[in-house]
């Protein structure tokens, strides 16, 4: 048995590095498309300012992209270094989309990104535009394959357990790709990336408008961000993840936990707007409920009910007991018994094998688990309700705030009066953290809500970790945290510096800080003039 602390530390490290990686990824996804839109406008209209926009936002894209690549490496290493048994047990299925992601998407994105930055003088207008679109396409296809892999963790279709190799094996690749959970996740996640990119451009453009500088540049950037952002926000909300919550037991449990729904309600269930979930007592205190809403969101109907956590746990207990039978049969099969009766019976019971493995946390030998063990394992089958309940609400609240922002911004674009509405510009500027709050809490809802499983109903998290010592993992957590902190400080420094500098950083001679009176204005503005602006080399 692996010690509890090894599992907890491994989980902490994974969560830390995945959340950190996910600071940069959504912005890459969104900005890539915004760059492609800007450059398309440039090629069609022939106006240089759109080229400058592509180049300037491209510069910020590059600063962000570098850390996206850096932190992505950790993710690839980590399945092997810290989740070795997971890699063995499901690598047959999980590895394939990752490898195909490399071949099909990551190569495309990464090969052409170099030409995006350095090919302006070497490629024709149309060629460069093609390159930019290929980068956007590559990054989105990358997301598709990653979410195919992740969707399979949530709802493991198209695979079966093989007792001879002691692992899950691929049966139907089509089912893996067209896994409905993966499909909704893909749309939801990439759209949230587009929103992130749009808020980023909107906020920084608003900053220029508030400072009354580079107005033609800021106005056009603002307009593209507003419209693109409105469409994307609607897509995130309308095609939200909720539609996937009917599929598979893990998703159902996650839904009930998000809603802190302990009892099964007659359809359609109410939505708990606020409350304090109490996991020990299995109830939600101070709940404020809105009738019907959750039933409609979750089941897209008025007559299907949403199963409550208590009922789900009753079902899980049955499956744990059956899982013990499956495990006993597996042991016989592994010992060489191939009698047809045993094979047939195992085939019947193996769907609950994962539930049996939940007991491994309490006893090495699943077969002789006590009633206490079974009770404890049953309690484990639901995730942390309080954390999910609040994360989900933080995500949704941020989402609706951003929707409001984009509606107002688009309206202002239509009326051509954004720069006369300082309150709107300030809303956009101070709203900059919103997409990150939404994506980080959204990640937690999706992955924290999957617990206690790494692979839903198949492989428990506590079995998945590598056999390492706590000292090893503490060491890597400290080293990673130190590295990541330093990198984040450097990244933020450069990002803020170049965002403040604005298109003047392109050295075209056309923009604010390159004009003779820039220094004086900067002082009046109380802006620190970024170093090297009036000096010579500055890339």
């Amino acid at each position: 048995m692996i010690s509890e602390s090894v599992v907890d530390l491994s989980r902490f490290q994974f969560a830390m590095t995945a959340l950190y990686h996910f600071i940069f990824v959504p912005l890459t996804l969104g900005l890539a498309f915004i760059l492609a839109i800007m450059e398309t406008t440039y090629v069609i209209s022939g106006k240089e300012i759109y080229k400058d926009m592509t180049k300037f936002w491209g510069k910020l894209f590059g600063i962000n992209f570098a850390l996206g690549v850096t932190t992505g490496l950790t993710m690839e290493f980590q399945f092997g270094t810290n989740w070795a048994y997971y890699s063995h047990y499901v690598g047959d299925i999980f590895g394939a989309p990752l490898a195909i992601e490399g071949l099909m998407a990551f190569f495309l994105e990464s090969t052409f990104i170099g030409l995006f930055f350095f090919g302006w003088d070497r490629l024709s207008k149309a060629q460069h535009l093609g390159v930019t679109w290929l980068v956007a396409l590559g990054s989105n296809m990358s997301a598709l394959w990653i979410l195919v892999a992740n969707g399979w963790m949530q709802n493991p279709v198209g695979a079966a357990f093989n007792f001879e190799t002691m692992r899950m094996e691929l049966v139907d690749f089509g089912a893996l790709i067209f896994n409905p959970v993966a499909q909704v996740k893909f749309v939801h996640t990439v759209s949230s990336g587009y929103v992130t990119g749009a808020v980023f451009v909107l906020a920084i453009s608003s900053y220029y408008m508030l400072k009354k500088r580079d107005l033609p540049f800021a106005r056009r950037s603002f307009a593209i961000a507003a419209i693109f952002g409105l469409a994307s926000t609607l897509s995130v909300i309308l095609l939200g993840d909720e539609s996937g919550y009917e599929l598979g037991d893990v998703q159902k449990t996650k839904l009930a936990a998000i809603e802190a729904e302990w009892e099964t309600h007659p359809a359609p269930a109410p939505f708990t707007l606020f409350g304090i979930p109490n996991q020990e007592e299995q109830r939600t205190d101070y709940a404020i409920k809105i009738p019907y809403v959750m039933g409609i969101i979750a089941t897209r109907s008025l007559d299907k009910e949403v199963t409550g956590l208590k009922d789900l746990m009753v079902q899980h207990e049955v499956r744990i007991r059956n899982g013990m039978t499956a495990y006993a049969e597996l042991e016989k099969l592994r010992a060489g018994d191939r009698s047809p009766a045993l094979m047939a019976s195992f085939k019947e019971n193996q769907k609950d094998l994962g539930y049996g493995l939940l007991l491994k946390k309490y006893t090495a030998n699943v077969v002789d688990a006590s009633e206490e063990h079974i009770k404890a394992a049953t309690k484990d089958t639901i995730p942390n309700v309080t954390a999910l309940f609040f994360s989900f609400r933080a995500m949704v609240a941020s989402g609706f705030l951003m929707l409001l922002l984009f509606i107002l911004a688009t309206y202002a674009v239509a009326k051509r009066n954004a720069e006369n509405k300082p309150w709107l510009l300030r809303f956009a500027l101070y709203g900059l953290p919103l997409p990150w709050i939404a994506t980080q809490t959204g990640w937690y809802v999706a992955e924290g809500g999957r617990q206690p499983w790494t692979i839903g109903e198949v492989l428990p998290t506590h079995l998945s970790a590598s056999s390492l010592s706590t000292g090893d993992i503490w060491g890597s957590i400290i080293a990673l945290a130190a590295f990541y902190t330093v990198l984040l400080i450097i990244e933020m420094y450069l990002m803020i510096k170049f965002a403040r500098l604005g298109p003047s950083s392109l050295h075209t001679g056309k923009y604010h800080f390159e004009k003779p009176n820039a220094q004086v204005e900067a002082e009046q503005d109380n802006t620190v003039l970024p170093e090297g602006v009036s000096g010579e080399a500055q890339s």
Partner: protein
Amino acid sequence: MIEYELLKIIWWVLVGVLLIGFALTDGFDMGSMAIMPFVGKNDNERRAAINTIAPHWDGNQVWFITAGGALFAAWPMVYATAFSGMYWALLLVLFALFLRPVGFDYRSKLENTKWRTSWDWGLAVGGAVPALVFGVAFGNMFLGVPFTLDETVRSTYTGSFFALLNPFAVICGLVSLSMLCAHGGAWLMLRTDGDLRARSAKATQMMGMLFLVCFLGAGAWLYFGGIEGYTLVQPFDTNGVANPLAKEVLTNGNHGWMNNYSTYPITMLAPVAGILGGIIVVLAAGKDKAGFSFLGSSLAVVGSILTAGFALFPFLMPSSLNPAISLTMWDAVSSKNTLTVMTVAACIFVPLILCYTTWCYYKMWGVITNKHVQDNSHSLY
């Protein structure tokens, strides 16, 4: 439908192709950055060196990432056992790799000399450390890695990080480091001019010599040094399911890893190519022939990776604790379905990748001069 046995062989070849692709492309990125602080004496020269790979390093790095992905998908047990076992070695590689994307993109964004010099050394570490560690890891495969598998196929590693740094493995590490430095030096000869090019030629020649000495030394150690080789006990069903717990393995005293070379003499071409490549590098770099140097270093890269692969075949990760559970390309492999799907994907995408990568190099080709760096100081790295 292709036979399972054939699919296993195809994926042994394909992982090899990805590894070689990585070493040939990302290899010169790493090598050129490892020697950059030494051959580039001022900011402009260093920028010239960096900008020869500026448009390509990211694409090249994907060879490495995809090789890792293919390892995960095709040989999940090897990925799991090697990465968790050699935990600190892998983290060391990871931390070194961290310095590259940020180093390339951030270095020239500020004017500050200290900032730029720090990143130059960061890029050098990001090139040298992975090159060294990969060789050390390969060296340890020949010696056997101390891991066990329990009845549920969970692996446990009982060695330590420092045990990996034994003399034989360190020589193997020097083989890969010097090889990639020579390759990177030859690349700089192709793409730069003036003093930088002259110094790169010198570095290439030196690294070529070091490579020859270490490569021959490692070979001699393997032959005379009493390192045990492993052989699979026949009959063994190469078409069977992937279960690493169901075979017998013999360890056979001195120069055991040479068996494949005596059984299939054609495989001797690999070490011959490695040596020949090394000789070409040394001679061509001495005469300042950039094209031939690069050809020679490429030959050395292909030759030495194949040399290791052929010697170990069919073993991927031998266990020194219990040779019978050693991971081989026959039994540490993915299922037939997975291999089939991935073969189709590889057949479609690898040629496509080669096409558009070539187009990108074609578009960005040319010598990066000092003047070019000065003229484009705001848009280059």
